[in-house]
């Protein structure tokens, strides 16, 4: 079965909103996104060539960091613009359908669920908060001072003892940081409408050598964004020497969109 184009789904919005014309954006394949409307819902879609986006081609592309980055950024750009100017459910990267009709079927079949989800995220944005154990500003520990004094006669033992002390100390610092991260998360989650935690990222990904101890996402109403950042500033100060806290966002509420699952089926 060959087709001219697959349909790439960016976001689903309420058709009633006066939403920006997505045609002025550029999609993952450089295409112009367009709207498909069905009974009060609108899907923002793009037509992408199967030569680049069928399962095998896409899988190959995904191995290519340059391609992946460009495509992911393009996807995000479309979603971001829509999410800012209207209520839109941001969809995950690579949500592909065989053609427009499939998308229309989807809208029709899950209309209630989509509307409920739109309701849930209406007027809210997602903020990301990451916390790192700040090893650079760790208070000097008394164990490390012993490295300076030569131990008489048994350098090997002394070295091992030193290593163990340092390891224990690092473990304690990490435990402490994790504890603080938990406190921060609870405070922010109380303030936010919804909260979730992403898996901690590794140092390879973040390019930060300090271990990550918090990777939270928070759904916050736009009107309360200032309060959220203020609260974060307080928390940051309270945990300052031990923990380094970073804020990202606002994001489209990617982390808070539960797409309606199938009614049975599967």
């Amino acid at each position: 079965m060959t087709r001219d184009a697959y349909t790439w789904l960016y976001a689903i919005a309420s058709a009633a909103d006066d939403r920006p014309d997505p045609g002025r954006l550029s999609g993952v394949a450089g295409e112009r996104p367009r709207l498909l409307t069905s009974e009060g819902l609108a899907a923002v879609v793009g037509s992408v060539p199967p030569s680049d986006f069928d399962a095998t081609a896409l899988q190959q592309h995904l191995q290519d960091p340059a391609w992946l980055e460009a495509a992911v950024r393009a996807h995000h750009r479309v979603v971001d613009v829509l999410a800012q100017s209207s209520h839109a459910l941001p969809l995950r990267f690579a949500t592909l359908y065989h053609d427009d009709q499939r998308v229309l079927d989807l809208l029709q079949q899950h209309r209630r669920a989509f509307q409920a989800a739109l309701e849930r995220i209406a007027g809210r944005m997602e903020w990301g908060v990451k916390g790192y154990l700040d090893t650079a500003h760790r208070p000097p520990d008394e164990d490390a001072d012993s490295t300076g004094t030569p131990s008489p006669g048994r350098p090997g033992t002394a070295y091992l003892l030193r290593r163990r002390a340092a390891r224990d100390q690092a473990g304690r610092a990490l435990d402490d940081a994790a504890e603080r991260a938990g406190q921060i998360h609870r405070r922010l989650a109380e303030y936010a409408d919804e909260a979730t935690e992403h898996p901690l990222q590794s140092a390879e990904m973040t390019a930060v050598r300090d271990p990550m101890v918090l990777n939270g996402a928070y759904l916050v109403g736009r009107g309360r964004a200032q309060g959220f950042t203020d609260l974060l500033a307080d928390l940051r100060q309270a945990h300052a020497p031990a923990l380094r806290v970073e804020l990202t966002g606002p994001w489209p509420p990617y982390s808070f969109v539960e797409l309606p699952t199938t009614d049975g089926g599967r």
Binding site: Y6, D17, R24, L25, A55, L58, Q59, L62, P65, L68, V72, R73, H75, H76, D80, Q84, S85, S86, L91, R92, F93, A94, T95, L96, Y97, H98, R102, D105, L106, G123, M125, E126, G128, L133, T135, T147, G156, Y159, R162, R163, A166, R167, A170, H198, P199, L200, S202, T206, R209, P211, R222, G223, A225, L247, T248, P250, W251, S255, L259, P260
Partner: protein
């Protein structure tokens, strides 16, 4: 929608991200984490199949995550700690020095019967070992040298 600030929103459809105010969500790792469902930390395959209207199922092998498996968080960072790695260097150095000294001592023992001629080569380390419990770098040759010459002078 424009009343929903603090973001300078809508109106202009420029694809460039917001400026001013909060930090940019420009970090690719963050972006991938959100855009690619359950994050890039989970190594292996991520299957994207939403809803069961026919759609393509794609397995994404995450290049970025593959490195992650190798290490657990927090296990290795102290290996890079400067104080510890320098300690390791000291230890290696000290070991090497000890090995050298041991070699010299054994050489000295085998030559123990030899007379004045071999004095400079073999006795020096033996003497220094006797007088100083710890091997210290530059001082060793100097002191042993002087002691040797003194000895030479007072020799019968």
């Amino acid at each position: 929608m424009s009343d929903l600030s603090p973001w300078p929103t809508s109106g202009s459809l420029s694809a460039t991200p917001r400026t001013g105010g909060p930090p940019q969500p420009a970090n690719l790792a963050d972006l991938l984490e959100r855009v690619l469902d359950k994050g890039i930390v989970i190594a292996g395959d991520i299957r994207i199949n939403l809803l069961d209207i026919e759609l393509l199922t794609i397995k994404i092998r995450l290049l970025i995550a593959s490195v992650d498996r190798a290490r657990e968080m927090g296990i290795d960072w102290w290996e890079h700690d400067p104080s510890l790695s320098s300690g390791q260097r000291d230890l290696a150095l000290e070991n090497r020095r000890l090995r050298e000294r041991l070699g010299e001592l054994e050489a000295a023992r085998t030559d123990a019967a030899t007379e004045d001629g071999s004095r400079t080569g073999t006795e020096r380390p033996a003497r220094s070992a006797a007088t100083r419990p710890k091997p210290t770098r530059s001082g060793t040759t100097g002191t042993s040298g002087t002691s040797a010459s003194r000895r030479k002078g007072t020799a019968p």
